[in-house]
């Protein structure tokens, strides 16, 4: 059997991954929960300076943990619902992030609501905008849907730029922070003195409180998304992703489930937008470029669309590498690109691929659900595709 190095590496790495995956599937629930708690505690300890000096010698580690790393991770989790699970190629995800950001900025500065209320309102507004976009467009598929969503992303940005009542090109300034809690006593011990971090003091100087807020948001989002994935809804999404017509014929109300995926993805993007806007104090339409949509989509695909840990890992890599290599100046984007190319050569189905999707890929159904119907997968052979 003649195999080249690349294919052999791919296969061995894949087999190793499978072994790990099997072991994970057979792990009892209580052991899993131990790992979850360890992961959450690890996430809370991440902004430590001792790691920071290695992880990002050129930028403040705690700051980039919030943006771009944490922000990308949450956005990728949201986009994964749309792209990874329901198989809808959405190129305008940044629009929902922008709607969330603007909701926070406008309600916060004009009406002066509490941050937590705005967060809820923002999620609602974004879900509504997801439905508004989904209503007329989700009848389209694959690349047509991609084009429409791409347009929507740009429409939001250009509308914001041209609407003077929301600041036009100047954007909005003076966005309020979440309310701070200054005193934090547990059994008479001041936690501030103990740990040196004011967990709930939201100012401009210390990014860590926002990061903790982001971790909390991420944990909630992950639990919800995981529950959806395991439920009937998740199976309906998988059916739509694999073959929309077959799903429809079998009695799955595909349109409704696609709308649901869109609304959920939009709400997650919007929640992140609200959180982000409350940290940065000022925003303008240029913060919501198409490039952000493309980057998040790259993170989802590269990490392994459909698999939550994979998607999060992908977002981390995409957000972290350019900051890590900041010292190389002009070369940093080149190296970032080289790493992406290398990853796509050696792990074409993503860093930690979803098994189900990997099988779909092998079958020749391409990467993006119905989009890739005619495209051979990386390990399929020409005749398989030709026979379809």
């Amino acid at each position: 059997m003649k195999q080249n190095l690349q294919a052999r590496f791919r296969e061995q790495f894949g087999r190793y991954g499978d072994v790990m995956h099997d072991r994970w599937l057979n792990t009892p629930g209580w052991q899993r929960w131990i790992l979850y708690v360890v992961l959450i505690v690890g996430a809370l300890l991440l902004p430590s300076e001792s790691i920071g000096s290695f992880m990002s010698p050129y930028t403040d580690w705690a700051s980039i943990l919030f943006f771009p790393i944490g922000t990308y991770v949450v956005l990728a989790i949201g986009l994964n619902v749309v792209v990874g699970q329901a198989g809808l190629l959405d190129l305008g995800f940044v629009a929902f992030y922008a709607v969330g950001g603007y909701a926070m900025a406008l309600i916060g500065t004009e009406l002066g609501w509490n941050f937590w209320l705005i967060l809820l309102a923002g999620i609602g507004i974004c879900a509504l905008s997801g439905i508004t976009l989904g209503g007329p467009t989700l009848r389209l598929r694959g690349d047509y849907l991609a084009i429409v969503t791409l347009g929507f992303g740009e429409i939001i940005r250009i509308t914001a730029r041209n609407t003077d009542s929301i600041g036009g090109p100047n954007g909005i300034r003076g966005i309020p922070h979440p309310p701070s809690i200054d005193e934090l006593n547990v059994f008479g011990v001041d936690l501030y003195d103990l740990l040196g971090v004011k967990f709930f003091k939201y100012g401009v100087l210390d990014p860590r409180p926002y990061y903790y807020l982001l971790v909390a948001l991420a944990v909630i989002v992950i639990i919800l998304v995981k529950r959806w994935e395991k439920s009937r809804v998740g199976r309906a999404w998988a059916a739509i992703r694999e073959d929309e017509d077959a799903a429809e014929v079998m009695g799955v109300p595909t349109f409704r489930f696609k709308m649901l995926a869109f609304a959920i993805g939009a709400s997650i993007g919007g929640a992140m937008g609200v959180l982000w806007a409350s940290k940065v104090i000022s925003l303008n339409p240029n913060d919501f470029q198409f490039l952000l949509s493309a980057t998040i989509l790259a993170a989802v695909v590269m990490g392994g669309a459909g698999n939550l840990p994979g998607v999060m890992l992908g977002a981390f890599v995409v957000a972290w590498l350019p900051e890590r290599f900041r010292g190389l100046q002009e070369y940093r984007m080149l190296i970032f690109g080289a790493v992406l190319v290398a990853l796509m050569i050696f792990r074409p189905e993503g860093l930690l691929p979803s098994r189900q999707r990997k099988a779909e890929l092998k079958e020749g159904a391409g990467g993006m659900g119905t989009l890739g119907a005619e495209v051979p997968g990386p390990e399929s052979h020409g005749e398989e595709v030709a026979s379809k």
């Binding site: 100047n170 401009v204 940065v280 104090i281 240029n286 100046q329 080289a338």
Partner: protein
């Protein structure tokens, strides 16, 4: 066949990436060495001053000259063997506000800078300003012109050039005064820089009794024919464009091609670049006028101080000082003077900046309590024989 080529390609790509990576590492190493050697051997103490702006991004062309100007000051200063040397730390924000905030945190917490030059653009200044304010780190920007920045009540923020609400009326006065235009067509590019500037021009022209027609264009497009047709129909004496040079050059070319020959073409500091001439073509750009709150030392200056700066700049970077170079030089000079006077902590330096009154290259440098510079001069430049020449202050310049 295919696997072989694929393998070859992979090896090649990896090789290229490695080589470039190593080359880049090498660059970083040599850059860092002199600074380290200097600080450990000669002077016992060194303070860090940051420079933040778009050094590798799309608009780096207007940030690198002030960086060079600032470097010049600190190199000169360090050569005098002062008690406290300066290390200039560069923060490349690429003009992206959300990245700029993380870099500012790094500057404050890890690098412990005592002052910051920049951020260069208004967008990043709006987000970095509050962070510097809370950390009490003084900053002086050499190029952020958005008017609203001075309205935040910041005590540690300064800029060494007048803002857009000075620039716009300054140019408008020139259009209505020496040019005596009665019918002006004002176009903006809808950006956070171009629109407020164009609005300021419109407002001032209206008070001067000129007839003003408005329109906007999208700089991302390449075909401005809808705007150009409106301009041709309105037959203006003068046209003002608020936006950057890439769009300005293209617009000017399309206007002249359409037969709008006699109307004087004006623009603001965003168009003060050779790119305007390249984009429009030398023949079309001839005579175009650009206003700027910046002072560019042209080769024919006679003032000894300015000439000294221009010569030193040319010697160091083998290029003539470009946009904001003099402002970057002046901003850095303020910090250097503060250190000479023995102020090495951020709050002492800030107190010094509040009282500073020195003759800079571009202007007399003296700050108002809100951080704005007191001098309000706008300069008018004109394209002559395919090069940008200084006409003089907007209040004094005459059309040749």
């Amino acid at each position: 066949m295919r696997p072989k080529t694929a393998r070859l390609g992979g090896v090649l790509a990896a090789g290229v990436a490695l080589t470039l990576g190593l080359a880049a590492c090498g660059d970083g190493g040599t850059d860092a060495k002199p600074a380290d050697g200097g600080s450990s051997a000669a002077a016992p103490s060194t303070v860090k001053i940051g420079f933040m702006g778009d050094l590798t991004g799309p608009n780096a062309g207007i940030v690198i000259p002030p960086r060079n100007g600032a470097k010049l000051v600190f190199d000169e200063y360090n050569k005098t063997n002062p008690a406290v040397k300066v290390e200039l730390v560069e923060y490349d924000s690429q003009g992206d506000p959300s990245k700029a905030v993380a870099l500012a945190q790094q500057a404050i917490k890890t690098d412990k800078v005592v002052g910051l030059l920049g951020p260069a653009f208004s967008g990043e200044s709006a987000q970095v300003g509050p962070v510097l304010e809370e950390a009490q780190i003084p900053s002086i920007s050499a190029s952020a012109t958005n008017t609203k920045l001075a309205e935040n009540g910041w005590k540690f923020w300064h800029r060494v050039l007048p803002n857009d609400s000075v620039q716009g009326p300054g140019i408008a006065d020139f259009i209505a005064g020496p040019v005596a235009a009665k019918n002006v067509f004002v176009i903006d590019d809808k950006s956070e820089y171009g629109k407020p500037l164009a609005d300021a021009v419109r407002g001032q022209l209206a008070t001067k009794g000129a007839k003003v027609t408005n329109d906007s264009l999208d700089p991302a497009e390449s075909d401005y024919s809808s705007v150009v047709n409106k301009v041709a129909a309105s037959k203006p004496d003068a046209i003002f464009f608020g936006g950057y040079y890439a769009a300005a050059g293209n617009l000017l070319k399309q206007l002249r091609d359409k037969g709008v020959k006699d109307a004087k073409f004006f623009s603001g500091d965003g168009s003060l670049d050779k790119g305007l001439i390249d984009g429009a073509g030398a023949a079309n750009a001839e005579g175009a006028l650009v206003g700027c709150p910046c002072y560019i030392a042209t080769p024919d200056v006679t003032d000894a101080k300015v000439k000294g700066f221009a010569d030193a700049y040319k010697a160091a970077y083998s290029a003539d000082p470009a946009i904001y170079a003099a402002e970057g030089y002046d901003a850095a000079t303020v910090f250097a003077e503060a250190l000479k006077a023995g102020n090495t902590t951020p709050d002492k330096i800030n107190a010094f900046i509040g009282t500073v009154d020195l003759a800079g290259v571009s202007k007399q440098v003296k700050f108002a309590p809100n951080g704005e510079v007191e001098a309000k001069d706008i300069y008018i430049y004109q394209v002559k024989n395919g090069a940008i020449a200084l006409l003089g202050k907007a209040t004094e310049a005459k059309l040749g």
